[in-house]
């Protein structure tokens, strides 16, 4: 009776956080959709306005509403980041499973490829791949997807390797279970949570790296509302004191990345039986 109703356990709290994140992201996508073309409408009568009641994020040098542009930009950034991170996680899953189950040669090859993938600074690799793809949104997605898989591959490989040598799986094999049965009942329950958490924690990295790449001028054509491009464009107006062009889109990007981080860490705690009820 005395327990505080606000002191929720981890499961309830995580569920609420997940719900909040979903609402936030559907809000962004819905908002971008509802705004339609409004982010692109130039209104020269309303140029260079600081944030105010009617334009919460101000307007740019062509009178475009920065709030609409930020929402639309965030949508594009999230889309690119999510696509790239998902591709990357799937690559990691396939490579990780292959390395752990398909014998010595495949294992050596995958481990070596992961080492090579991590040997070059991330951003240099991103620039190289984006150049090789000839730029464009496709180039950014391929670059981010092709450079983020090594860490998760190592985690999945190690997990499966450890499971395969564990006693209960050896026992299961002795009891006559087929490999497919073991994979479905003993491996999947361990690998799927690892994969999901790995995927969620890849999102912030992918979103930030994609924005960095477009900020440097790789990928998006100018005037695409995308957070990296928006910030790159605002660089030219910084010296004239139009601070709002950079502050609001940047903050929106940081908050999105942090939300995914929080989401990933909470889901990890939720999926791990040891921390479930903390």
């Amino acid at each position: 009776m005395m327990t505080n109703s606000l002191a929720l356990d981890r499961r309830t709290r995580t569920m609420l956080i997940i719900l909040g994140c979903l609402v936030l992201f559907s809000g962004i996508f819905l908002g971008a959709w509802l705004y339609g073309e409004q982010g692109q409408v130039t209104n020269l009568a309303l140029r260079k306005l600081p944030p105010g009641w009617h334009q919460p994020f101000g307007t740019d040098w062509l009178g475009r509403d920065m709030f609409a542009r930020t929402i639309k930009g965030l949508r594009v950034s999230l889309e690119i980041g999510l696509t790239a991170a998902t591709c990357s996680a799937i690559i990691a899953l396939v490579f990780g499973l292959a390395a752990a189950t398909m014998g010595r040669i495949v294992d050596v090859a995958v481990t070596w490829l992961a080492d090579v993938g991590m040997a070059t600074p991330h951003l240099v690799l991103l620039i190289l791949i984006s150049f090789a793809c000839g730029g464009g949104a496709k180039g950014v997605i391929i670059a981010v997807a092709a450079s983020h898989w090594p860490a998760l591959t190592r985690i999945i490989r190690a997990e499966v390797m450890q499971l395969r040598t564990s006693d209960y799986i050896k026992l299961s094999r002795r009891l006559g279970r087929s490999s497919a049965w073991i994979a479905r009942h003993h491996l999947l329950p361990h690998v799927v949570p690892q994969f999901l958490v790995g995927l969620l924690l890849l999102f912030p990295h992918a979103i930030l790296h994609a924005a960095g790449l477009t900020f440097l001028g790789f990928g998006m054509p100018p005037h695409t509302p995308e957070i990296g491009t928006l910030l790159a464009e605002s660089m030219r107006y910084l010296s004239t004191g139009m601070w709002w062009l950079a502050v609001a889109p940047g903050l929106a990007l940081i908050i999105s990345a942090m939300v995914f981080d929080v989401l990933g860490n909470n889901v990890r705690a939720l999926l791990d039986p040891r921390t479930l009820r903390e």
């Binding site: 040997a119 190289l128 000839g134």
Partner: protein, 336 residues
Amino acid sequence: MSSRIMHSTIARFLLLKTFRLIMLVAAVATLSFVLVSNSPVDPVDAYVGAAMLRISPEQREVIAKRWGSDRPPVERFGRWAGQMATGNFGVSTIFNEPVLAVIGKRFVTSFWLMVLAWSLSGALGFGLGLTAGAREDTLLDRGIRLYAYTMASTPTFWVGMILLMVFSVSLGWTPVCCAWPPGLSAEQATLWQRLHHLLLPAVTLSLIGIAQITLHTREKTIEALRSDYAVFARAQGESTFGIVCRRALRNVALPAVTLQFASLGELFGGAVLAEQVFAYPGLGRTTVEAGIRGDIPLLLGIVIFSTTFVFTGNFMADLIYHLVDPRLRKTSGAIS
């Protein structure tokens, strides 16, 4: 006797690492070559650029022939790899200078930026991590953690832009661009001027770089304070401050130094973004130029150079571990 054993282990260690580096560079070079040869960006088009309309197809052919870009990829790779092996990285198309000379010159400019940022973030991050770990779950700890988590999700270039707006545009304390005053050459600028131009990019890099080292040091400090030797010291009446300074510090410092050396890749990536914001003429900005303007020899050279740079960081981390950690020293059979 034992010192000879130590020398031989170190020699073997160095030999192994050199072999690894050569293998790695060969792999990275091959893969990068395959990547850029499949690029739809035509190197001749990228080189000609805006002058495209004024140039005849015959002139284009001359350029292609001179560069050998009309040859099949396998033959190009063979010739390129052969030249690379002798240390000839080719000529940069946008600077019209040997690639190695461009990289060398630009890296010196970036080097001081990276050194300053690296030491600043290392020292500050370590201090903050120790403080947060020693004062676990206090308001101070929460504040430091919030800062570190926020910085982990913040793009480097955005921090740079905010600093630029506040300190260069509004307050006018720091210059808006470049590594030395416009109109002067690098040699003419005084040390003070160079530092003045270096300050903001370096602070940008360290504000972001602090995050990882802080969180890592905090974890290690908490671990150390829960260890038996810390509990024992506390039982003898040592204060938390004393335990942290006299007992935990040495155990926490080693992983922190290693981590800092192993993070050279992040540092390089951060430098690319920071140099772009502050128009700082270092290797990072050159990387972006090479990528955008299709300077393939320079881009490949930078990829190989940065790979070696990251490898050197990891190598230093390994080496320090072997030299400093008494447990590892003992197992390698080298007690002198």
